[in-house]
């Protein structure tokens, strides 16, 4: 197969948008964290340095993987799934698992910590894409999709146990999204969605803190010092931003008022410093990544490349949207980073690596034909 020059370069718009977002994230992390870093670690650049390292590593991973022929990954699905599940399980091994804020979501090797759920999302996409690519007919039967459901539910259960509701929701959404993208029967989809939706109240009832957060989300001022605190602080930040914001580095809420300002709530700081305008621009950039990602998927000639790039793009889109919904108080606060932007190296590197795979698909897609494998 002879690829044109353009294809060897890959989707430049996609590449530039991803790199810009990640670079902007490094700046935003510095702005959001320098005061708190100074107070807590005596080094205002503490989070900045970590994020910069993550950016460099992430960029290397992204570019490196983009040169890889994605088709070679077809058979890596199962090992990726097993690795993901093992890592998720390791969280519960005493000594390895690290707890923070009442949840065990990290595993630590010396001074280095990894959040397995971030890896698991990519692992799940790889597995699903590989599994269906091997035999597209599997998409047609319920039995055919069972292994994917099994893998997804296994992950969800493990993540649920950490506990981490939002990432669970994220994985669930990716699973359903990928089945939909793969083109399973609508009836089967409904059969999956309805019980999943019914499960939500059960899951909420299982952990009392979720119900508290839910009520805090309805009226945060009912408990301004407890459950409602985080959301209130986020709303204050947004309101302080107005249309054009207070200016980069001029957030008022980052002075320890807003918890997780550099990670899960970095969007609030961005909204404060750059205003609604900045939020709009940021989500335009995120939108470009999603659009180009989907475009790459659609242009890919094989199911594996299609499922892989669409899945990764979907995961990115879903997670970005969930984070924005949390920060703006549309859904109850949960611990979910804004991909490419929030502080957190696992998330950054894995997301960029995933983006590298998508870029690789664009690079290794031969013709101009649109994807038309199924149906």
């Amino acid at each position: 197969m002879k690829a044109s020059k353009a294809h060897e370069r890959g989707d430049l718009v996609f590449l530039i948008a991803v790199v810009l977002l990640a670079a902007y994230g490094v700046v935003a992390v510095y702005s959001a964290s320098y005061y708190n870093a100074e107070v807590q670690y005596g080094d205002s650049a503490f989070y900045f340095k970590k994020q910069l390292l993550g950016f460099v590593l992430g960029l290397a991973a992204m570019l490196g993987l983009s040169f890889l022929d994605y088709r070679k990954l077809r058979n890596l699905g199962l090992p990726a799934l097993i690795l993901s599940l093992v890592l998720l399980a390791l969280v519960f091994v005493p000594g390895l698992g690290k707890s923070n804020y009442g949840a065990t979501r990290w595993i630590g090797f010396g001074g280095f910590t990894v959040q397995p759920s971030e890896i698991a999302k990519l692992g799940f996409v790889l597995f699903t894409a590989g599994y269906f690519a091997k035999d597209p007919a599997r998409l047609r039967t319920f039995r055919g999709i069972l292994p994917v459901l099994g893998a997804g539910i296994a992950m969800c259960v493990l993540i649920m146990l950490e506990p981490n509701m939002s990432v669970t929701m994220c994985v669930g959404a990716i699973m359903v999204g990928m089945l939909f993208l793969g083109g399973i029967k609508k009836r089967t989809l409904a059969l999956l969605l309805v019980p999943a939706l019914l499960l939500v109240p059960v899951l909420i009832a299982m952990e009392p803190y979720r119900l508290q957060r839910l009520s805090a989300f309805v009226d945060p001022w009912a408990s301004p010092q407890e459950e409602g605190y985080q959301l209130i602080q986020s709303l204050y930040a947004l309101a302080n931003g107005g249309f054009f914001g207070t200016g980069l580095f001029h957030s008022r809420q980052k002075f320890r008022f807003l918890p997780f300002a550099e990670s899960d709530f970095i969007l609030a700081v961005i909204a404060e410093e750059t205003g609604f305008f900045g939020v709009l621009v940021l989500f335009c950039a995120i939108g470009v990544v999603v659009w180009r990602g989907m475009r790459i998927a659609n242009r890919c000639e094989d199911l594996f490349g299609y499922m892989l790039s669409a899945g990764i793009t979907l995961a990115f889109a879903v997670q970005s949207a969930l984070n924005a919904l949390v920060v703006s108080g549309c859904i109850p606060p949960t611990g979910l980073p804004l991909p490419l932007i929030s502080a957190g190296n696992t998330s950054l590197i894995v997301t960029m690596a995933g983006m590298g795979l998508v870029l690789g698909v664009s690079r290794h897609t031969g013709g101009h034909k649109k994807h038309k494998i199924y149906k």
Partner: protein
């Protein structure tokens, strides 16, 4: 799929739009509160001046020092420095500087300016100071119960300091410092300054010279008669402005006995306004005013002023016998007219008057003279007295009220009632404050005399005044006579009751006088509570009123006039 994602994006972008551009102001307003820590900016408390501008209550500049443990950087060395500056033990200061359970803690409530200047030179992080003036009363105990005192936070606790606190206090300002969540000041952040509004000054109707004079006279009386208390009130009877209010024993406003609450309550009470007593014969002024007014109005029931009263010593009403204080022997209290009855303070005559007027009519007068009602003085805690309800009293009660028994009044009520009886019949709301001014002297509010009602006609008033002048010239009030100044008045000697029975040997001696009789300018009610030895109002109280009047004549440089 892209459509679904676009839809999702639109949802939260709409939400961002709403929060950032529509809900913005309300949220921002709420957020402002948490971003700043305030240091109060002192509002100067208004001064209290007498009617001539003499300072009665002012301020001394002092400063409070406080700390915010979260913003303190080097607690040990800061504590060392502070303890040497303010003379508190190092351990105590260190404990306050490291007490992170409170966002702000007071280290010294009040200290001198020099200390604060030294403190400012050192710029200790987390330690602040703010103006916190102390109240100062140049004359100490002068008019102590009228002026009142303030609490440690400078808000008025008693007296005018309390009643006019709203005007005196002003409004504190604030210096707003931008801080982080736990109160650490942000570097490079500008502090916002909200200026304080100083309180307003009160200009009293009290004349400090007359007040001092009256206090002097009453203090000597208190000692001379070994009395329990000595009180006096001086009014301008033409508009009821209070010139002096004396309550002895008293206390120093600069050294309030805060540790002994009972003593403090007793000493700081303005008994002239808040306490009631049975007035006795001074109340005959009211009875006489009522009958004269009714007579002039042509009421056939009213006993004419020139009719001769029965000379008998006793009256029997409802089966009870009422006696005169005099034995009526050897021609005493014989063949008296109203004027002579007043001169002699003969009780049976006033029994006759009250019964002749009848319950309805006499009670109408009591009401017009505002017994059983507040006078409306600008002061907290005014008592309304005790007046039996008209519907329940019997004739024997009515008869006794006629000469000032079976009724309890505040000294202020009696003084005001008498003032209206002799000023032409006008009853004003008594006043202690005439003007509220800003510090530059500009009048913000003028509290003019307000006419509350009419009691008697000008003719009746004039006739009564002539009779009361006679009391001082020829009768029981002789000891208040001052040649050429037409002093008029009425004595009173009341027995005290304890637990519902007459307390043997305990009297209240009083005299209510004014001058000049034809155009009254000064009215005084002098009360000596439980004098030892002599106890008649004519011998104990009348001379005190005379002393006060003589003092006023000297202070005001009044010249004598012909009778």
């Amino acid at each position: 799929m892209l459509a679904a994602i676009t839809f999702l994006f639109c949802i939260f972008l709409g939400r961002f739009f709403y929060i950032q551009l529509i809900w913005e102001d309300e949220l921002h307003y709420r957020a402002l509160d948490q971003w700043t820590r305030e240091i109060p900016v002192h509002a100067g408390r208004g001064r209290i001046l007498d009617r001539n501008g003499v300072l009665l209550a002012g301020n001394v500049a002092q400063y409070g020092i406080f700390a915010r443990a979260n913003a303190v950087e080097d607690a040990e060395s800061s504590a060392e420095l502070l303890s040497s500056l303010i003379g508190q033990p190092y351990e105590d200061v260190l404990k306050k500087l490291t007490d992170r359970t409170r966002s702000e803690i007071s280290i010294v409530r009040r200290t001198e300016k020099e200390t604060v200047e030294q403190l400012a030179a050192h710029e200790i992080k987390g330690v602040y100071y703010a103006r916190n003036d102390a109240r100062f009363y140049p004359y100490g105990s002068l008019a102590a119960q009228v002026i009142g005192f303030t609490a440690f936070d400078r808000s008025g606790t008693t007296g005018l300091e309390r009643f006019y606190n709203e005007y005196l206090a002003g409004e504190s300002g604030e210096i707003l410092f931008e801080t982080d969540l736990v109160g650490v000041d942000l570097e490079g952040a500008a502090a916002a300054y909200l200026p304080a509004t100083d309180g307003l000054d009160l200009r009293l109707t009290i004349d400090s010279r007359i007040q001092a004079l009256a206090e002097d006279v009453m203090a000597r009386a208190l000692e001379e008669h070994s009395a329990k208390a000595a009180r006096a009130i001086v009014l301008d009877p033409m508009d009821f402005s209070v010139r002096a209010m004396v309550n002895l024993p008293s206390y120093d406003l600069n050294d309030v006995p805060r540790d002994d609450l009972d003593t403090l309550n007793a000493l700081s009470r303005n008994c002239l306004v808040s306490d009631i007593y049975e007035p006795g014969s001074t109340f005959k002024i009211v009875t006489a005013a009522a009958t004269i007014n009714e007579y002039l109005k042509g009421n056939p029931d009213a006993i004419p002023p020139n009719r001769i009263f029965s000379s008998a010593r006793t009256r029997t009403v409802d089966g009870t016998t009422i006696k005169c204080w005099s034995d009526h022997k050897n021609g005493k209290h014989a063949n008296q007219t109203l004027a002579e009855a007043l001169n002699n303070s003969c009780n049976p005559c006033f029994v006759d008057i009250a019964l002749a007027l009848g319950k309805q009519c006499f009670y109408d007068y009591l009401s017009a003279f505002r017994f059983g009602r507040a006078t409306g003085l600008d002061f907290s805690g005014e008592a309304i007295g005790m007046l039996l309800p008209g519907s329940t009293i019997r004739d024997c009660d009515l008869a006794r009220i006629g000469f000032g028994q079976t009724i309890a009044v505040t000294p202020l009520q009696l003084a005001c009632a008498a003032a209206s009886a002799i000023n032409g019949g006008n009853y004003y709301a008594p006043r202690l404050v005439s003007e509220i001014c800003s510090a530059d002297g500009a009048v913000r509010e003028k509290l003019n005399a307000t006419l509350v009602g009419h009691t008697v006609s000008p003719e009746a008033s004039a006739m009564l005044s002539g009779m009361l002048e006679g009391v001082v010239r020829d009768g029981s009030g002789k000891k208040a006579y001052i040649e050429g100044y037409r002093v008029a008045g009425k004595t009173g000697t009341a027995q005290k009751y304890e637990n519902g029975a007459i307390a043997q040997g305990k009297y209240v001696s009083s005299f209510l006088g004014y001058f000049p009789a034809d155009r009254p300018a000064y009215l005084a009610l002098v009360i000596v509570d439980e004098p030892q030895g002599g106890y008649y109002g004519s011998t104990v109280a009348a001379p005190l009123a005379k002393e006060i009047f003589e003092g006023i004549i000297k202070i005001m440089d009044l010249s004598p006039r012909e009778a």
